[in-house]
């Protein structure tokens, strides 16, 4: 056995360094992408179970034990359905739109640090990269709405465009606050800046920004109560009204990948990412696994925020389009700007996250 490994290692050593890098990164990308897609599958299951119990129902419980096979049954059903392209649609754009939606949703994971030592691309402008990619996702929605050549889809696309513009700004301003506190655009450094127990998390000094960021995230992903782009009782399904089969499944995948992405970003920006909640709690004993920072802490935080997404969906009625605009432009953007000013003062006085910085 050890001979085998040594033999493989010797082959590996002969591969040029550039190719080694290519193989490693490609396998990392595949691993993360597959994990995200599988997580999406079970997120749909999780959503249906959570909302089911909130509504006094059981949720899926027929396919496999506890209905765990349901996501795969759904995928299979969508794969074998025909993708109907409406006669008067723009065929090329109609097909390309779902891809435009899914690509940024998956590509954003490249800079997400999943633990202290795992990130596919450890770039310094990680935060800008994430902001840029989440904004690109809206092209998929707008192109889908336009290419379908349906009035319902067009309305959905228009709403989506306006909504993303409004909330992207609020989100950007909220991230300016994070940037000020962490002093870095690198997501790993932002997490490390929050090390030292949960009182060091940015949640407390940046509480309003956290709320704005998370709510904007809900709006960006077009989830209830901001799901006007697909509000089924108004414009039926909005931009994806004419999509079926795999094309629809890809939109669905993108939506859920974005939910997980927003939950991850919230955990990283405001909840210390992979940092442990119990860091520095001495009664647990030195080296207790609960005190160690690990991927499981990040996973727990992500799951919590995903749960909050579903909780919101089960609780709230849908906003009207103009009310969403009002909330974005007249409430969130002023709050974030005001809080950035407050942060400036805090930084000047060396409070909170700035207490360590030299005067």
């Amino acid at each position: 056995m050890t001979g085998m490994i040594e033999y493989l290692n010797s082959i590996w050593a002969t591969v040029p360094a550039d190719y080694q890098y290519l193989v490693i990164v490609t396998s990392q990308i595949l691993a993360v992408a597959m994990t995200v897609i599988l997580t999406v599958a079970f997120t749909t299951y999780f959503e249906r179970k959570v909302i089911g119990y909130m509504q006094g129902r059981l949720g899926p419980n027929r396919v496999g034990p506890f209905g765990l096979g349901q996501p795969f049954a759904d995928v299979l059903k969508l794969l074998i359905k025909e993708v109907i392209v409406p006669a008067k649609s723009n065929r090329f754009l109609f097909i390309i739109a779902p891809l435009l939606a899914i690509t940024p949703a998956l590509a954003a994971w490249a800079v997400i640090p999943l633990s202290d030592n795992f990130v596919i691309a450890d770039i310094d402008a990680g935060l800008l990269y994430v902001l840029a990619l989440t904004s690109v996702g809206v092209y998929g929605v707008i192109i889908a709405g336009w290419a379908t050549n349906s009035k319902y889809a067009l309305l959905g696309a228009m709403r989506s465009g306006a909504q993303i513009v409004a909330y992207e700004i609020a989100m950007g301003f909220a991230l300016v606050g994070v940037l000020m506190a962490a002093g870095s655009l690198n997501l790993g450094d932002i997490t490390r800046a929050q090390a030292g127990g949960f009182s060091h998390w940015f949640l407390f000094p940046l509480l309003p920004l956290f709320l704005v960021f998370f709510v904007s995230g809900v709006a960006e992903t077009n989830r209830a109560p901001f799901d006007v782009t697909e509000g089924e009782s108004e414009i039926v399904a909005g931009f994806h009204v004419e999509y079926s089969g795999v094309a629809f499944a890809i939109f669905f995948l993108a939506e859920y990948a974005n939910i997980i992405l927003i939950s991850t970003l919230t955990s990283i920006f405001f909840f210390g990412g992979w940092a442990s909640f119990f860091e520095g709690w001495t009664f647990l004993g030195e080296g207790h696994f609960l005190r160690q920072p690990s991927f499981f802490w990040l996973a727990a935080k992500i799951s919590f925020f995903v749960f909050v997404f579903f909780w919101l969906r089960a609780t709230f009625p849908r906003y009207r389009y103009d009310q969403i605009m009002r909330l974005g432009w007249k409430v969130f953007i002023p709050i974030t700007i005001a809080w950035i000013a407050v942060e400036g003062v805090m930084s000047w006085l060396h409070w909170g996250p700035w207490s360590g910085s030299a005067g």
Binding site: S233, R313, P317, R318
Partner: protein, 417 residues
């Protein structure tokens, strides 16, 4: 300069918020509605015409299918007008049972309305909560008539049969264990009245739960306050009735103003709104559920104390029982006549109206003395409400159209007839 064209959108008839088969042609400027043109008739089933070709009793079942959310109330209007033409009054116990079932139906209707209205505005959980309670009410329907929806329970001269002494029970199956069945059946051990009584006890807490989700919810208020405002004068001009009129602040309820059956002996209040917007109509309907619950409770108490006949003994109108029919020659003849020819109603015309959950439901009937009506005209409350659609939504946004359709509580079965 080019003229700016409005955006015409075809809303329905296949639309998740169209409440059946409403087709609205919307003229829009972006998201803002310039005018709405409702098209009706897609669910026309010629109920009025069909009623002309069959004996009186055979049309009772058609009435259930008019407004298929509040089935028994439709029967009530139809049965009442026949009784008026015949000049008969059902026994007092039958009147109480009718009031009991009218109010159960009102709760049934308002629960459905609340669930559908919530779902239209995007609150999906309320829908399932409402349907949870509707399930019990459907069981009450089933216990008394054998069906969960189209009961065909009222008859001219009373109701088809007295309230049963036992409730139908769940049975264990592959999907339902003995234990869960026992739990479900625990409340069904007694008579129907016990079951209804238990329902009235638990129901106010359920309404609190719905209100908890919606009444003070900021998004719910943003979506309903000042949407579809109808001032009281205009509401009267448009022929509004029921909660639509009371939401505008006009205190008009046939149960109080023109009491039929035993409503004048019962204690209940009529809620009215102040602004005439969707939110007020929501509050009015929620309060009506509480008041109906109160009436149901009073009826249950009365019915427990006062056994008696639930049908007239007049064999020219009401069929004899099976036992009588088997022993008695004359009963057999009556039975045969009633189930072939039916009864003849003296020539004349009459209008009878009831306070249907949606408003005034009236039946106008002309008899030429035959065993079939010469003409039946049904006044459906929803028809007048739908007529106000355009003026209620003009100037609002697309999402408000859905809120207004919801608040009007439209059911196409009765509008298209």
């Amino acid at each position: 300069m080019p003229e700016i064209q409005t955006f015409t959108m075809n809303f329905g008839p296949q639309h998740p918020a169209a409440h059946g088969v409403l087709r609205l042609v919307l003229e829009m400027d972006g998201e803002v509605i310039h005018s709405a043109d409702p098209h009706v008739g897609l669910l026309h089933r010629a109920t009025e015409k069909l009623a002309e070709s069959k004996p009186y009793n055979q049309s009772i079942g058609y009435m259930d299918r008019l407004d298929y959310i509040s089935m028994i109330c439709n029967e009530h209007g139809y049965v009442l007008v026949i009784e008026k033409l015949l000049g008969i009054t059902p026994p007092i116990r039958a009147q109480y049972i009718r009031v009991l079932f009218d109010e159960i139906t009102r709760i049934l209707n308002h629960l459905f309305w609340l669930g559908a209205h919530g779902l239209d505005i995007g609150a999906m959980t309320i829908f399932l909560y409402c349907f949870r309670e509707r399930e019990d009410l459907m069981d009450i329907y089933e216990a008394v008539s054998g069906t969960r929806m189209h009961a065909t329970y009222y008859r001219p001269g009373g109701v088809y049969r007295d309230l049963p002494e036992a409730m139908p029970k769940y049975q264990a199956s592959k999907w339902r264990s003995k234990k869960s069945v026992a739990k479900l059946n625990a409340i069904r051990e007694g008579s129907l009245l016990d079951f209804i009584d238990a329902f009235t006890v638990k129901f106010p807490a359920c309404v609190d739960q719905y209100e908890n989700l919606l009444t003070d919810n900021r998004i719910w208020k943003q979506r309903t306050v000042n949407i579809g405002v109808v001032p009281p004068e205009r509401a009267l001009q448009l022929g509004f009735t029921g909660p639509m009129l009371r939401g505008s602040g006009v205190e008009w309820d046939l149960r109080k103003k023109q009491p039929y059956e035993v409503y004048d002996q019962l204690d209940f209040d009529i809620p009215v709104g102040t602004n005439g917007d969707c939110y007020d109509r929501y509050l009015v309907r929620v309060e009506e559920m509480r008041q109906s619950n109160k009436i149901v409770k009073q009826c249950v108490d009365w019915l427990r104390e006062n056994p008696g006949p639930v049908m007239l003994e007049d064999r020219k109108i009401v069929a004899p029982t099976r036992v009588e029919m088997k022993d008695d020659m004359e009963s057999l003849i009556h039975h045969f006549k009633l189930f072939t020819e039916g009864y003849c109603v003296p020539a004349g015309e009459a209008y009878a109206a009831i306070e249907h959950p949606k408003g005034e439901f009236g039946v106008y009937m002309i008899s030429d003395g035959a065993n079939k009506p010469y003409r039946v005209k049904i006044r459906a409350a929803g028809f007048a409400h739908l007529g106000a659609m355009s003026e209620m939504v003009t100037g609002h946004m697309l999402a408000d159209v859905v809120a207004v359709i919801g608040t009007q509580d439209i059911v196409f079965g009765e509008i298209d007839r």
